[in-house]
């Protein structure tokens, strides 16, 4: 009986919160807000905020066409694997105090798990046989190469900062990093971590493939690149994966740099004078709310604003940008963390 209950609990974690359903809703919401904000900044009315939901459900009903040149099985399976990959990844990113499965993957693993949706997409694109997809996957891979270096430096800097502050050398576990921040304040308040946070903010649009780093799916020149041959439900799944990835990356930022807010919320709940299960639920609810609000703010700042004011870069410019400017920010942070500044 207990086993069944436990199994149900974990199933709920995977499928509802913090797994699939939650990140599905928030991700779609973020996409909708992003589209709306960009439109308003360009003096357009823009679609309704729920438009991504409508798009998704409409795509599910559309006909799926598998080209003759495509490798059918891989072509159809790849989007599903990508979706599963991002769903599972979301489980490892704590919602402030709330975390499940914290003994499965550390930040270095998360760095790799972030690759899985992109790789699934690359595989599906390659399987479609389209030359547009070929160009697209090449660009996507270069974008991954570009982003990976600064992202790693940021993670190493965080691991070192928290590790030396806790006297344990290094800390790679994400829940420990958040736990440290709850006790000692968010990492962004540390001088040495500010460049890293800036670097991470600059990484967000690249990692999620939005303007000006959406070279891999440039609609106007290579016809959506990797998704050129996709239609119907698989395309919908890809759109969903992208939306969820935005939320994943943004909430990773919150966990790494703003983790201290969770303690504030708990103190707030305690200050009101509540205790017991109700207080726990209220605190969790507030934490979720704050996370969603923060995600919206970060999406607007890092994705929508940047989207509205920049033109698409060429792929070699993307690479150069990340390996010079962003890497420098991250490197400064790493060196400062290393020498205890």
């Amino acid at each position: 009986m207990l086993l069944v209950l436990n199994a149900l609990k974990y199933l709920a974690y995977i499928l509802i919160f913090p797994g699939f359903l939650f990140s599905f809703l928030v991700g779609m919401l973020l996409t909708g807000i992003d589209r709306k904000i960009v439109a308003r900044m360009q003096k357009r009315v823009g679609p309704p905020i729920l438009q991504p939901f409508y798009d998704f459900f409409k795509l599910l009903g559309k006909e799926t066409i598998v080209p003759d040149a495509a490798n059918r099985r891989v072509f159809l399976l790849a989007p599903l694997v990508g979706l599963a990959g991002i769903t599972v990844l979301q489980l490892f990113i704590p919602v402030f105090h709330f975390h499940v499965f914290d003994n499965v993957a550390d930040v270095i693993v998360i760095l790799y798990l972030l690759l899985i949706p992109a790789l699934a997409e690359i595989l599906g694109a390659a399987a479609s046989g389209s030359p547009y997809a070929g160009v697209g996957l090449s660009r996507e891979m270069v974008t991954i190469l570009a982003v990976e270096l600064p992202l790693l430096l940021v993670l190493l800097a965080v691991a070192k900062t928290v590790g030396s502050a806790m006297g344990r050398g290094l800390v790679f576990s994400l829940s420990t990093i958040v736990g440290y921040q709850e006790l000692h304040g968010s990492l962004i308040t540390k001088l040495s971590m500010i460049p890293a946070a800036v670097a991470f903010l600059l990484i967000i649009p690249g990692e999620t493939g939005s303007h000006p780093f959406d070279t891999a799916e440039a609609e106007t020149e290579i016809c959506e690149g990797m998704m050129a041959e996709y239609s119907g439900a698989p395309l919908g799944v890809y759109k969903l994966t992208h939306a969820m990835k935005i939320f994943t990356v943004v909430s990773l930022f919150v966990a790494l740099f703003l983790g201290g807010i969770g303690a504030g919320i708990q103190n707030l709940v305690a200050a009101i004078g509540l205790s017991g299960a109700f207080a726990g639920a209220l605190s969790l609810l507030l934490q979720i709310l704050v996370l969603v609000l923060l995600s919206i703010v970060l999406t607007i700042v890092c994705i929508s604003f940047v989207h509205a004011i920049t033109a698409r870069l060429r792929i070699e410019q993307v690479f150069k940008y990340y390996w010079t400017i962003v890497t420098c920010f991250a490197l400064v942070s790493l060196v400062m963390a290393w020498y205890g500044l």
Partner: protein, 641 residues
Amino acid sequence: MSFLSYQHFPIFTIMLYFLGAFLIVVFGKAKALRHAVAFLCTAGPLALLISLIGRVMVHGEIISYWMGNRTPVGDYAIGIALEVDALSLFFGLLVATAVFVACLYSFRYMERDHNVPQYYTLYLMLAGGVMGLVLSGDLFNMFIMVEILTFAAVALTAFRNKVTGALEAAFKYLVVGSIGSTCILAGTIILYAQARTLNLAQLAAVIPGNFGVSTKLAFALLFIGFCTKAFIVPFHPLAADAHGAAPASVSVLISGVLTKSGIYGIIRLVFFLFQTMNLGTMQFWLVFLGSVSMFVCVTMALAQHDFKRLLAFHSISQIGYVLTAVGLATGLGISAGLYHAMNHTLFKGLLFLAAGAVLHETGTTDLGKLGGLAKKMPHTAALFLIGAASISGIPPFNGFASKWLIYQATYQKAAETGNIGFALVTVIALVTSTLTLASFVKVTQSVFFGQMPEECKNAKEVPFGMRFAMGILALLCILTGLFPGLVTRYLTEPAAKAAFAAGNYINAMMGQGYAERIMGAAAPGAPAVSFASSGVWSPLSWLLLLMIALLAICVVALSGKYDKVSVRSSKEVEKKYQLFYGGETQSFSQVGGGDLFWGFKHNWRHYFSFMHDLHSGIVNDYSLWAVVALALAIVYALIVL
């Protein structure tokens, strides 16, 4: 000591290979007999070594064996010895596994070649040479085995002498390989002049602490000699040439086994014979060489357009990881390095066999001439993808498990020593890993996916025998990735502990108390080694979660007719099912492997053109690199030791 006592197993292991080589010369004309002999003589050693795991790995026993039972007299080793500690056994197992699987593969793969009996003879000689090297307890015997394996490898490289470049590659390998072998011989004899013994254990007791100029010279010579065998930079062009030309099953041996013998030699040299790994300068040297190897070779691989040549460069890049991790000289580092060495044997074997399968069916390995093969060879493509995911370090395959340990080990070393240079190594390792991924995306796209050129239309799935061999390796790739705990506990950690326990090694050979008697207080005991790492990664749980999520998504997708919507009404060509060409009619257009990743290569164009010019293909240049490396090694050894 009864005849079938386990103490005889090491010598049986070595002799079985050479016996097989001999028997095939005699009886090799008959195909069935030949295959039977080859099978038994490769399966036998594997079984013998597996039976030793319990004693050596779990209980930490060190098997010492004196040929003809000539045990040491008066503290002097007079006989020829075999000595098997956990480290030797670990490498022996790798060798035996790779040799066995590649042999299974050869049965069908070599069918169309001429002179097949000679192939098996050389093949078993090569296997015996490497096995003899890793199980030997005698420096001169190590040299003999190095010569045998170099010789067999050269002959096998030139085996398909009609293939472009086979002879050329063999000649270059022979020249530079001989320089390396001569270095090993010269180093051996100089050590002999100092210590008047060739026994590894006795040398390990006498040499450390008494470094004269000649000893340092010998160290540099031996080190460069083993580097040649491991194809560490600057010897990497030889590996690339040799792999490209040799039959795939031989490439497996060269990359999975021969390079390991070099790594094994280096470990024996720095941890046992000279025991210099506590020196920071020595660690720096190894880590530096390893990092340079992994980075230079992965960028070289990105510039390649031949399947096997590309794999060859990756092979050295992965060896760079191993050397880097071993050079850290921490428990976690060595364990991670050995883990990666094992994984490298498995996934690189798998990839070479897949390349061989492509060559077998299409007759070419040029990335520009291939494409869309996943439709014709679905099983090979799936197996290749497993190998590619493993080498690129995609969770949960084995490459990720070991690379992750290497990142942990390097960064932990950085934290322990306070030296930010080791953090740089972590960064290089991860960038290399991403570049590896890019390179395998390129192979996947240009060989197995994308559009199929006319020449590949006749390709079909390779025979079951070949797929079976690949399947074994793929299965091992998955298992060693999913159970890192078991692998480290039973294989790599005992081997890593053995690397620190030179004292035990000496005493097992020369009698209890020998090390303490000769070396006094400096005798290396068996220090407690820490394998603690600060990260967490549990592949099984992750896979379980992924499977649940995938299952749920698939159930929903399939019940929503995810895959049924596109049922075609007729067999005729319909525009709807053609690829989108911006309104033009569909025509063959494959994005060539050379054109991928332009955005990356453009930024690095000066580097790439410099590297291209540097690898001139002239044997004199490569020899010059060898001489320069030797000179630098000698200078470095004289300064720091």
